[in-house]
Symmetry: C2
Subunit: 290 residues, 2 copies
């Protein structure tokens, strides 16, 4: 459900792994393209009992802000047992809503593929989007039904080239706050600071001097504005918790420059080692190979 | 003076522009390599009246933490008029020290080439290091002597492939605080946050999920620890001024998510446009071509 970059790429990779794929998206032209490029076997322009008739596993790959309302609809269209997962980049709100609102016959397991590009839409879909990327699954509890569903989802995700990682939705949201949403927030903040000064007392000097370091630190802030808004707002409670800690952390660095430079140098050494160990020379996360 | 990455690359590029280049560095082996690769015409292992005899323009390309003590020595070795510049990445402390301590016959113009790599040392020197990069010059005042010296330095810098940018030292330090030192501080802070959580309650989940966005945001923090310490500590007063403003800026983004999402979406649009306009598709600063 949803044939954008994520949904389209998932369809392409599952088709090539010989799964039968049904695509559901409002846009008729997207369905035609998807049929033409052999990304799907069959397409529907809306969610219906007919569309879900032969579906064992349904992935919701619509925009983050739309996932909850899509989950709401699903219950009314299925009578048989079905596994439903999603690809939203925060999991708590979605999982808690699914837990409360879906009927017994729908087994919901939250999901988050850690893949994507600045591009969006089916046109940019690629069979290799998930290759060697983590795909988090957040089961609602430890029931046998959920465990079986996770096993099946793992199999499908591995077929798509991804590396499954199992987590609770709370832990997932804490982790992505640190490695995805806080960095985005900070990137947006750096843009604001330079942009505002740029407009006044130090004229264009900031902008002229901005080179590759600044470019890399502001790349994610300069991404799709709607997506940036959805990401920040989806994890607002975790962000509100960790932002003061982050500000303390950086203030502490400045304090140590004068008060205890040796401790700070030691910390910078550890940071450097940690960051360099985390990525191999091709920029790939080294822990994902374990 | 100093034949590391910056000094060595400057020597190489000036030699190829047919300047006569004298290299001064403690390490005899570096002088031998520099002579062998035709980076210098002549080399000295220490600063002396003899070494400076034929020198019209002296660039101090020693580590940031050493520049002030090198400026101190220069005065005692020169009797004739000489232009002295440096390549330190913050300018206020250096320029104020030079103004107070150098004799009349030394014309000091602070400098900062906005170029470099993670690598250091003469071995990594390259003739093209400065090509199309900004090189800031910070004259001490508007005197004719300084204006002539700036004109000559501009000519030399252009020969090395760089684009000269003239600024006061105060403005330079305000600008680099925003586009270089604040981003570095923030990058170090992001590493600390993820690294600390990594060690406790969310186990390795943060580290496993860290992909290209996090990698880019922590790349500069993971750089050379001693250089990172020198950069942060060299511009501590500007950083102390702007850090609270930065923390307010990011707190304000979180506040607007709930209170005024439309204003925030508009700001994210403007940020995205600003950031994308600042760099061309090859990642080059577009303002530098003007």
């Amino acid at each position: 459900m949803g044939l954008g970059l994520i949904g389209g790429s998932l369809a392409l990779s599952l088709k090539s792994a010989e799964y039968k794929v049904i695509g559901i998206t409002r846009n008729k032209e997207t369905i035609d393209s998807a049929l033409k490029t052999n990304a799907i076997d069959k397409g529907f322009t809306e969610l219906s009992s007919e569309a879900l008739l032969d579906v064992d596993v349904l992935f919701i790959a619509t925009p983050l802000s739309q996932i909850i309302s899509d989950i709401k609809k699903i219950g009314s269209f299925v009578n048989k047992e079905i596994i439903v997962s999603d690809v939203g980049s925060t999991k708590s709100d979605i999982c808690i809503f699914a837990k409360k609102n879906l009927p017994q016959n729908v087994i919901f397991i939250g999901g988050h593929p850690m893949a994507g590009t600045e591009k969006s839409g089916f046109t940019f879909s690629t069979q290799n989007l998930f290759k060697d990327h983590a795909w988090v699954l957040t089961p609602l509890d430890e029931s046998t039904k959920n465990r079986n569903a996770v096993a099946l989802l793992k199999k499908i995700i591995i077929s798509a080239g991804a590396i499954p990682v199992i987590s609770s939705y709370e832990r997932h949201d804490q982790a992505v706050a640190l490695i995805s949403h806080l960095p985005l927030l900070v990137s947006l903040g750096l843009c604001q600071m330079a942009r505002k000064r740029d407009q006044n007392e130090i004229a264009n000097l900031t902008a002229i001097l901005a080179s590759s370091g600044f470019r890399d630190m502001t790349r994610i802030g300069g991404g799709n504005p709607q997506l940036n808004f959805d990401l920040i707002s989806s994890n607002i409670s975790q962000l509100s918790l960790i932002l003061p800690k982050f500000c303390n952390e950086v203030e502490n660095i400045l304090k140590l420059v004068k008060e205890n430079p040796e401790t700070l140098k030691k910390a910078f050494n550890e940071i450097s080692k940690w960051q360099n160990d985390l990525y191999d020379k091709n920029g790939k996360n080294t822990l994902l190979n374990i």
